[in-house]
Amino acid sequence: MTPSSYRGRHVVSWGLILWVFVLALVITPIFALDETQAGVIDWHHRWIGTPHLSAIPRTTRGSNTFFAATEKNVVAAIKAKTGELVWRQVLRDDEPVHEIRSISGHVLALTGTKEFHARLLDGKSGQVIWDFSPAGEGIVPGLAFGQAVTVTSEDSNLVILNQGTHVRKVSAKAGTELWHWKAEEGSATTFFSVLEAKGFDDHGDITYVLGLQRNVAAFTLEAVALDSATGSLIKTFNIKSNIDSFEDILTLGGGSVVKNGYVAWLEQDFLKVLTLGTNRVTQLSVKTILSEVSSFEELVGKLETVNLGLAEGNTKFIIGGTVGEYHDAKGSVLFDIDGDSGEIEMISDFGVRTGFSSYTAATKPGTSEVVILRAFREDEEHGAFELYDVSENKIILHQILPLPFDTYSHFSFVALELYSKGQGTQHRFYFSTLDGSFHAYSDVESERWQREEALASVKDVEFVDLPERKLWTQDVDEAGHTKAAKNLTIVERYVERLRNHIIQLKDLPAFIISYANPSSLFTKSPIAAPYSEVQINSLNKTIPPLYRDQFGLRKILVFSTEKGKVVAVDSGNKGQIVWSRYFPWGHDIKNIILIRHANVRLPPVIAIIADTSDGGGNKVMRTYRLNALTGKDFESDNFHFPAAAWIPAGYLSALKLPIEDPEQKTQVLALVDERMHITTYPGIEAAQEAFKALSDDFYFMLNNNIGDKVLKGYKAIVSSDMDRMDVEPIWSIPFPAGEEIAVLAERPSYEVMASLGRVLGDRGVLYKYQNPNYATVITVNKKPKHGTAPYLTVYLVDIAKGSILYQVTHDNVGLNQPILATQYENNVVYTFWSEGETSTSAKGYQAVALELYESQFRNQRTKSDIFSSFASERPHVIAQSFPFPHSATAIGVTSTKAGISAKDILFGLSRQSVMALNKRFLDPRRPTSALTAAEKEEMLIPYSALPDDPRLFLSYDLEIAGIKKIATSPTLLESTTIVVAYGQDVFVTRHAPSKTFDILNEDFSKSQLMLTIVVLAGVLFVTAPMMRNKILKEQWY
């Protein structure tokens, strides 16, 4: 009996405990954040989109909030002084905002297509106070007008026009209908506006409904007078007129029983004004206007009306026109209507200004004096605002602000607010520009801000790894200054380094104190400062150079947007914008590809491929090459590889080739254009030759779009006689009649397969099907086959030879709900809405998991050592469907460096969250009957519906609106992946599907370790003399 045998036993029990630990780690696949991580490892930008409508609560002291409606169907309240978002209501994708109004501090919004809604939103919280939605009324498809609202000043109720036919008076307090008037069935008149104004005869209180009656060639104006109190028809005025489009018409005046209402319109050679309630039309010939207004001397094209967006009661309006030899300027003139005679009066010639002009108007605080704002481009570097005071008849402010054309382009929307401060009047200009950003300019410098709303329409993202600091310091000395091109000897370098280290010594005490400080030891993560999406005075901000962190968690995310803007943000640092580039004049960015990773001394390079059109309407593909760290053009010395290039045909595809350009070390791309030609990028000789060498085995899919009825595969053909590379179709799969492609999924661009098979409970192995060329195609057919609802068919297609590897049909699916699919390794996951076979079968989302194996039998492999698409092997597919508890809008899958970590399927949900679901839940081998011993050994979870657990949400309770795509990127840590969800909001987080097994747990307490060491040292001091005494005693006895 010795201690050694005990030790043996101990080790066994230790081993047991270890096993229990490992099992505990593996068996709980539910990953959840703990609260201290929230906001530390993730960040979230809330975007609203580019505003196109605004409403400002009327106050004399200046309003705190600015209400905006955007093209992303968002109604939002923004803090006027800082640009921060107070609240927003994200509406459905099919619910555009037609009009917003500020009513006693709240916002009225008219929205919808299929359903029409008039809602009053609380000005402070955005909650719906009332929602008025007439049943069965949508808007008329294809009609640009038909919705309007006017406030009646006497009883402050609303008159709402919908569908161009229904007029209702609605109580502003409760949202209840007071009366309803409907145009006659089958009437040729479509109404576009409503207005309360002075009546006629003995009718005092009249609501006028203005409509356009379709005639043979043009429209005639119709005004219907309704009794404001009861909604009964009093009289219909048919005005002799000849109007081309409703955009030529302005509704003016009114808003009160004492004020006349007017309609002004442009008709061929005349500007005409009708006084409502009469048949009196006054006119001014365009000839007279042209002769009297010097601005219109060089007029090209037609005159147009400009809506100033003034409240009811105002009669001022602007007529503008494009002038100049190059159609590059705007002239305009201000008119008013005389209250008694209804005559048109010309008030002021606004002159010619370059670029587009945007107009808006507001009234001075506490008065009804109108001030008109005109925003235009001053020059390449500046935008300008001109403020015209109508009562003083002069320009009271000419404000120039730095607004580089390259970055922002023209104004697309302006809003003006005037408020009094002390004795004077203060101004605040809100404007959006064509690049999508939204700005505020105030007299107070600290209240100027900018929101990069282009990020609300992100199309695509590319991850750029940052260079290591070591590499960075080769160009920049250790103190952070750019190194002059001096050649130091080794000794000098050594001395410099030593000196730097000595300089850095001064930070050591602070470091030790910070480390030894108990508070810093015992509180874990730092509290995250909330990042605001607002950039204040961002124009002159410099960003320090970025470098990689130890684990490669920090990256630059380069987003391409629908606005033609490319924005790079720092994935650390709460998503600070690093650089942005705007490609004006209708650049439709098609692809964004990292063609060179950060390399020794070489910065990362990104290629941007966009479709544009030349002057003649022909498509032109343009390519740009940028330094991904700075956003500047990446210039090379090679004449054949310029920073910007173009191809005279539209874009079809850009394929990454496994070739490297020998000079710049960039990855070579094959650009396929609509002429079916291939151009290598860069187009240098060496790249072309290299591509020709591999073109024999180069198969790909092209322009297979959603809605296509045929799937096609292509191959590159190099004609030997000509120096040209073409694309030739080699196979096509025509789908059965009625089927259209709904979803395409291909394998992720970054994928490493760590294990070749799946180990079963009995130690047998199912070998994974390792075809890199298979793709998932889901088609839908609106006509039911067996069931009562549409059906969908899933095809797994080998894109090299065009054969169908697997095919399955799901009957009775919903086409109004999104269908999503993703694939990786030998797995395919797709979701769809199931209507159920009969009326009693369950409805709901289904998630289907497919797993592809080489054989259905364990330990059986294909004989060949290499995989060839041309062999006839088909995979054995195991499939299972699971009820899915949420409504998903996007799907993605985690990717890690070596592919060892488990995979999580990521879902973007309509409830504005990002969910991570472990693949173990979406495992088609989950047993549906009682678990056998082997299945227990394999640790399969018994079949069940997918869990509805908020702890699965990576985004916890954040509001991640409009998720369209989820992208992931590996980091240097095998356990961790960067997840980026985008669409409208941008949400970035780190996710470890198998937990962070390769770094110390956040729970790992350094303080505990230190404490233990200190205690041990203490014990040593105490016991050492005791031991010495003991030994001494032993010597004696």
Binding site: R9, V11, A38, I129, G836, R951, E959
Partner: protein, 205 residues
Amino acid sequence: MLSLAASVVRAAQLSGIVVGPTEHFQPRDLSPRTRVILSGGEHTAMVMKDGRFTFPNVPEGSYLLQVESPQYLYPTIKVHVTEKESRAYMVSLGADWSNNDNSLQFPLTLAPRAAASYFIPREGFKLSHLFANPMMLMMGFSVLMLFLMPKLMANMDPEAMQEMQGMQDAAQMPNFEMPDIAATLAKFSTGNSGSSSPASAKKKQ
């Protein structure tokens, strides 16, 4: 709560009220983000300040009604909408819809089944936790044994000791399932590739 609506497809209005977990809960404390969806988002209704929601025009048929709230988890409900009368039942995910238990009264009142908890609680640093740690307990036990064992041994008579040794040998049956870490380590450190470690340990005795 249900009214007739004239339309090409026969349709009805569907409305109800979303409430909080307790009676004292004010509907205005519901997040402005709260939405009620039908059939996975085919129809959406915003929840008003007083908790009410309305789908103005729902074609006849059966639907799955869900409440999307960042604050609470609500039960899922199947609704059969007809022009004259609609019926609603609670359903669970993946269950068949032929079962018509758990019928709900109109107007629909949707009460949460739980608050949404997104986080797992984190254990802070506590001295008691440190000592409750199994590793620590084992260490403590080992240290204790180190002191107690010689004393116990001294008091034990030789026969009992013999017996115990025999028991221990029986217990040292080779265990194939569990790799013997001690043996592997010993082998590794000594380079001894011959006999198994219990034997060598015995020899040393």
